[in-house]
Chain length 406, copies 2
């Protein structure tokens, strides 16, 4: 499954399925698993999931809730305690005052993205988003028969769209701009000033009663690598105007809760009724055990574990950056967040798909080809995920060195 | 939130939101909660959720998985062990041989319905479904800008569509028929013969390469009240032809796992690639702790608990049926499954919405007005859920008797 680009025409799938692609990395993963079965030692640098499991205090909170029999439906927007806990977190960490009413708990950030796009996008409406980017973001637009409009983004702008790009791509049918900070696959982070400039520009694109929306994916928030003394990365919620702003976040990455499927969206007041109504219908609620577990995610004990992990990720990034550059993988924009390095491999090969295959076969190091992140020069890029420990990363570098030297 | 029928035009929501209604029962629920706060004793017969919490063996399996750190993503289609366990269950309980490959684990039956409709329905395509019915089913069609076509169904046909109805409503744009057995709100069950006749008819409606699909919601399966010696209710998967059949099921109702958000779909082979590709993109996976928990749902110990609960539901149904009839609530089609009684209240009031309000205010018994289940004579009907214990149901009957006698 998941290997065809185009569905079988004989079964007359809905047309949206022509545009929803499988993850190409699945092929890498499949081959890597075959190699492991044959006794090869594979180093996984293709996986977009932290190698840390859920912190113990969160596990303990889940078990406690299960012991109390808390397994029934919750309100569609989530339990109030969790919405309040998230609001508190915004206040404490970012100094931003958000009403818990504006926070809807969702089945993963994926659920949040579905809600927001379903509420905003009519068939034929356009949503602008940078390329390279997380492919599912484009697919959520296709899901509702909207039209994703790629903004080709390059290293000189840290793979983020410029004001000029946005202006140029905006059309009468454009409904929203989607950004990510930190971004996947580039780890690129937007400053508060950049966010503010973009936000102002998007709002200006509003036509009549049609408010242009800004959707900011912050699911890698927290996993940013500020130097001591530097200000913490800004959330888009700290902007002056948030009337057209949807911020998506998740317990998956920073909080280490991938499999629990729990995220949230902070939405403008006037959209809450529609989002809640839709969530009632298409989700009923986010998973209840996950919601009670997540209540423990903001405790001092949990946050300490997460900060240790953040430091570990930073060490890995700082190890890989110079080593990969030495090998000829050009990382022009130093990633300030997430756990990815998006590397220009054109000095080594003109075909990143072929290259990642060869690297896997010859060295047992699994990486993701650029094609998974869009159509803008994917053949020049590969993504390294540092979701593997330091020792294994060292081994990967040694293997890659031998491969390159041949 | 959730109280308007129509969204605020000023914010230009996507047009699909005009057709996605809130649950009207939310108003009942809200009022019931206010009354409870004021010290009134409310008997809840409006809630579509079993009053039993998750069986202990399932809870224990969840805790065991958490202790083992099983909190990461699973494959999009779910863990193979669970898909195999479900296939075994079909074999043992129904004597039906289903390949685990055809079973996709989803975030609730809601996730399964989203997948199937997204894969089948283009904007403007029609999906036929009976009215009264579970309102979300209609809304999933709207979600993808399809057009739900109601088949008005009445007590004389046990609220299920007749072959003639289906033929008559089928058009060039019709893509699928959705059924439920047992159905919400009516508890109506389709026999194998009826399913088979409908299936054959639907397949005949296929146009050229366009296969007409049959979607059968079996989320109340298991909660059926056969008399001793009677054959167990048939699953649509026991039909001869399943090439155009999608069966949706869930761990929520029979297995008592509502809040965990876990369901599945059994799909025809040729649709698996598309369903899996979409699931990868829009869900990543169903909640991991829930998947491991559900592995214990098929143990003898768990099934024994579920059968006890089924018997308890049957007792409640058998208590309520004659009593409500005596009170003037006409239940023409004896419900053979689920935990609902859909009662014609026109002998008591011409306006079921008003009646359910008055009953709540005067007696503290909360029930659901017909409007939540469609547009076909909703003013004549109310739904009683027997998700409350025998003692409380007795009290409800006493209160209703006083109300009616006044």
């Amino acid at each position: 499954m998941g290997t065809h680009n185009k569905p079988d025409k004989k079964i007359n799938l809905a047309s949206r399925m022509d545009f929803i692609e499988p993850f190409h990395v699945m092929r890498v993963l499949k081959r890597a698993k075959e190699m492991q079965k044959d006794g090869h030692d594979v180093i996984h640098m293709e996986v977009g999931e932290p190698d840390f499991s859920t912190p113990e205090p969160i596990i303990a909170a889940a078990k406690k809730a299960l012991n109390r029999g808390l397994t029934q439906y919750t309100p569609a927007a989530g339990i109030l305690e969790l919405r309040e806990a998230i609001a508190n977190f915004y206040a404490e960490r970012y100094g931003v005052d958000i009403s818990p009413q504006r926070i809807l708990i969702t089945p993963g950030a994926t659920g949040a993205l579905q809600l927001v796009l379903a509420v905003l996008v009519n068939p034929g409406d356009e949503v602008l988003l940078p390329d390279p980017g997380y492919p599912c973001n484009r697919h959520y637009v296709e899901l509702f028969n909207g039209k994703p409009v790629a903004i080709n983004s390059d290293a000189q702008n840290r793979y983020q769209p410029t004001l000029q790009d946005i202006k140029q791509k905006w059309s009468e049918r454009s409904r929203a701009l989607m950004l990510a900070s930190p971004a996947n696959p580039t780890g690129s982070v937007l400053s508060k000033q950049e966010l503010s400039d973009i936000s102002r520009l998007v709002l200006k694109q509003s036509q009549g009663s049609q408010t242009a929306a800004l959707i900011v994916d912050e699911i890698y928030h927290g996993l940013t690598y500020e130097e001591p003394g530097e200000e913490r990365t800004a959330t888009a919620l700290s902007l002056e105007n948030t009337d057209n702003l949807f911020v998506i976040n998740s317990f998956s990455k920073y909080f280490g809760m991938t499999g629990w499927r729990l995220g949230w969206v902070v939405a403008p007041q006037k959209y809450l009724e529609a989002l809640d109504r839709l969530a009632q219908n298409i989700f009923l609620c986010a998973p209840t055990p996950a919601q009670y577990a997540a209540l423990a995610a903001f405790s001092d004990e949990s946050l300490e574990i997460m900060e240790q992990r953040r430091n570990e990720f930073k060490k890995r990034r700082d190890l890989l950056l110079p080593e990969l550059s030495n090998l000829g993988f050009k990382i022009a924009a130093v990633p300030q967040g997430a756990f990815y390095l998006y590397a220009d491999c054109s000095a080594i090969s003109a075909d990143s798909m072929m290259l990642s295959s060869r690297i896997l076969e010859k060295t047992g190091v699994a990486i993701t080809p650029g094609l998974d992140f869009g159509m803008h020069r994917p053949e020049q890029y590969v993504r390294f995920a540092y979701t593997t420990d330091m020792e294994r990363l060292q081994q990967a570098i040694e293997r890659l060195l031998k491969f390159i030297q041949k």
